[in-house]
Every structure is written in structure tokens, then in C-alpha cells.
């Protein structure tokens, strides 16, 4: 859309949401009346393909009231929306002990390319063709390689930029390899960065979970109980609800991409399994074996209604990168 059209649309959206049950949402988003509880903001965002603009919806909460508002806005904008979960997550990240500086590096801490907000350090790996060589840290392409928009050696920061990481102070690794995100169906969203010589790391201890076995779970089935430690939500437990999920449509800043063979997980204990900033989290089974690499989440679904988390099968991740877990 032309920017003037989006500006007009934004005003219509505010007016629409100002009616009836959506009043509190609008109060939050545009400071209209009452006591603002910020959980939705409206704005204008450039489209990922640089062909005009779309209505930007920034969410800080994910309950039924917010979802109802999103549906209204989607209809109003005829789908030309750019939805992101922000702010509340960022606040959680800043206050989270998982987002502070960790030396030695740990599984589950905040990490990110210097131009990316932040994600989670998944695990430590070595190249199969150099098993005694350098160590690498593992996370997503969209966390370490900025969705294909990076170059080898780029600064990887711990904590990630959204958690206060700075290139001149918090560099821990240089981007080494990423599996390109492509328009045909993907299976993995992953990358590795070579850890700087002066930076120590602990490849096995996961705070609040225990010792990672270093092994890979061979069978991933429905109802498998899993756990992860993410930089934002910390330790959460979940249950596999589906596997071999194909034709999964995932929104990225570079556009919608398809994924095949994915693992679907719901949170238990009235919690979502993951939140924005948990991408890269290593999913483990109850034997502390690696199951998957968190990379995406749905806005709805799951028996608690808090959304579903999607993870790449870890075997496919390490095979694609030709590395082994340490």
C-alpha cells in the first residue's frame, strides 16, 4: 500500500477498535482515555519486499481479547498487516537473568547477530571434518545470520542487542555458516558462529534443568514430554502435539516461508512453551536428549490457547550444518 493509504487505514483501525469490547485495547495502543495497559500499538511498517507499506501491529499480550482485535485489524487491512510480539517480551528479557552476560557461555542464554534483537544460544558444536578444531555456538539463521543478510565473521553478541549487548564489549563469536532460508520448503532455520578464543563455554550444564546428555532423541512422537531453557521465558515444559508437520507457513521479515518436517509443541501448566526471544532454544526430552531447535510460534492454538511452538528436528539441523553436538 501507499504510505498515505496506510496512514488512513491506521486511523480507521484506531476508530474500529475504539468501539465496544475493543476499547481497552485501543486505550493501550494509542493512549486513548483511561488507564493505559500497553499491550497493542499500531504503526506503519515497510513491506518486506519494499513494495509499499503495511499496517504494523505490535503486541505485548496474547490473550483472547488481543486476538479478537487482531482479527478485526486483519479484515480491515485485507491481510496487509505486519504483526510482531514486542515490548513486554523485551521488558522480560531485560529483567531476566537469562539475558545478562554469561561467561562461560551457557545453553539458553541471550545471543544475537549485532543487527538482530536477540535469541537464544542453543548448544555447542564442532565440525565433523575437524572434530578437534574450533568450537561453535548454534542457534537460528534469523538470530545469528539476520535472515540471510549477513557475512562471515559478523559479530555475534552475548547478550543479544535487545538485552543491551554491544559489539565493542560483548562479542563472543563470529558468524561462520548459515543454512540459507529459501522460497522452496525449508527444513531448518539454523546457523553456527565460531567462538572467539578468549571466550569460555560450558557445553553441558543447563541451569534449572541439569546436565545435557549430548545425545539426540531418536524417536519424536506425539505426547513426548519436553523442556527447554529460553533467554526470555526461561525453563518451560511442553508436550509434542504433532510431528512431521509439512507446509508450515512461517512469517519472517523477508516474507512468508514454508517449512517441512517440523515438530509442534504446546506448553503445559498454563504457560506457552516459548516467547519472542526464545528462538534458538534447545528442546530436550526427559532424558536430557536433544529433540529440536525452536524457531517459530503460532498466535493461537494448543490446549491452553497460548499458541504452539515449532522446532526443527535437531538431527536435520546438525546434518545440514555438518556438525556434531559437543
Amino acid at each position: 500500500m501507499h504510505i498515505d493509504s496506510v496512514r488512513e487505514l491506521k486511523q480507521q483501525a484506531i476508530a474500529t477498535l475504539a468501539d465496544g469490547a475493543q476499547r481497552r485495547v485501543v486505550a493501550a495502543g494509542v493512549a486513548q482515555g483511561g488507564q493505559p495497559r500497553r499491550f497493542m500499538s499500531l504503526g506503519i511498517a515497510p513491506r518486506w519486499d519494499d513494495k509499499g507499506y503495511s499496517l504494523a501491529i505490535r503486541l505485548q499480550r496474547e490473550d483472547g481479547e488481543t486476538l479478537a482485535a487482531i482479527e478485526k485489524l486483519k479484515n480491515l487491512a485485507r491481510g496487509e498487516v505486519d504483526i510482531r510480539y514486542i515490548d513486554r517480551v523485551k521488558a522480560a528479557a531485560i529483567s531476566s537473568r537469562f539475558s545478562i552476560q554469561h561467561r562461560p557461555l551457557q545453553i539458553g542464554c541471550s545471543i544475537g547477530h549485532y543487527r538482530v534483537q536477540c535469541g537464544t544460544l542453543s548448544a555447542f558444536v564442532r565440525r565433523r571434518d575437524a572434530p578437534d578444531g574450533a568450537a561453535y555456538l548454534l542457534s537460528n539463521n534469523h538470530i545469528l545470520a539476520n535472515e540471510n543478510r549477513s557475512k562471515p565473521g559478523d559479530d555475534i553478541l552475548q547478550p543479544g542487542p535487545a538485552d543491551g549487548g554491544k559489539s565493542n564489549r560483548d562479542r563472543v563469536a563470529g558468524l561462520a555458516q548459515s543454512i540459507q532460508l529459501v522460497s522452496r520448503p525449508n527444513v531448518v532455520d539454523c546457523a553456527v558462529a565460531e567462538i572467539d578464543a578468549a571466550i569460555g563455554f560450558d557445553p553441558r550444564y543447563i541451569p534449572d534443568i541439569g546436565k545435557f546428555s549430548g545425545a539426540i532423541a531418536l524417536n519424536v512422537e506425539t505426547d513426548l514430554l519436553v523442556v527447554k531453557r529460553g533467554a526470555v521465558s526461561g525453563v518451560t515444559h511442553g508436550r509434542v502435539t504433532a510431528f512431521e508437520v509439512n507446509d508450515l507457513v512461517v512469517g519472517y521479515r523477508i516474507g512468508n516461508l514454508l517449512f517441512n518436517e517440523q515438530i509442534e509443541i504446546e506448553g503445559v501448566n498454563s504457560r506457552s512453551f516459548s516467547k519472542q526471544g526464545d528462538s534458538g532454544s534447545l528442546v530436550l526430552d526427559m532424558d536430557q536428549q536433544a529433540v529440536g531447535l525452536v524457531f517459530a510460534r503460532s498466535e493461537k492454538g494448543g490446549s491452553n490457547g497460548l499458541g504452539l511452538t515449532y522446532a526443527n528436528p535437531i538431527k536435520r539441523v546438525i546434518d545440514a550444518l555438518n556438525v556434531d553436538l559437543i
Partner: protein
């Protein structure tokens, strides 16, 4: 009792997807495998609910149960 095997569920996955993709205005957000009543099933994720009466709640494809869930949009985290 559901006796569908994982191979049977894999075989009908595309058929299940096509059935939902043919419904006007409905977008399939992913199709996976899951378990129901002791056997395997196909799970179809949608961006929003289908109109009432469009599908049977006990829908099967060649004897394999089809589980439908509205998940909305999916985003990288």
C-alpha cells in the same frame, strides 16, 4: 478405536490438506501427524475457523482421522 498406522496417515496427508485448501477463504498453515484414540491421525492447522457445517467433526480420510486446529499466523520468534 483408531487403528490407522503412521504409514496410512502419511499417505493421506496431502488429501486432507487439499480438502481444506479447497474451502474458500481458508488457509492451511501446516499439516502434520498426531495420535488419536490409539492410532495415528492427520492434524490440519488453519489460520481461522471454517464456516459452521463445512466439515464433519469426525472427519476421516480413507479411515484416518483428521484433527483440525485453528492456530492463526505463525511467526519466527
Amino acid at each position: 478405536m483408531n487403528t490407522a498406522t503412521i504409514e496410512e496417515a502419511r499417505e493421506v496427508r496431502e488429501l486432507a490438506k487439499s480438502a481444506f485448501a479447497a474451502i474458500p477463504g481458508v488457509h492451511v498453515m501446516g499439516v502434520g501427524l498426531t495420535r488419536r484414540d490409539g492410532g495415528y491421525a492427520v492434524k490440519v492447522n488453519l489460520d481461522h475457523a471454517v464456516p459452521p457445517g463445512t466439515i464433519r467433526p469426525d472427519m476421516t480420510v480413507r479411515g484416518v482421522p483428521v484433527v483440525v486446529e485453528v492456530v492463526g499466523a505463525v511467526f519466527s520468534e
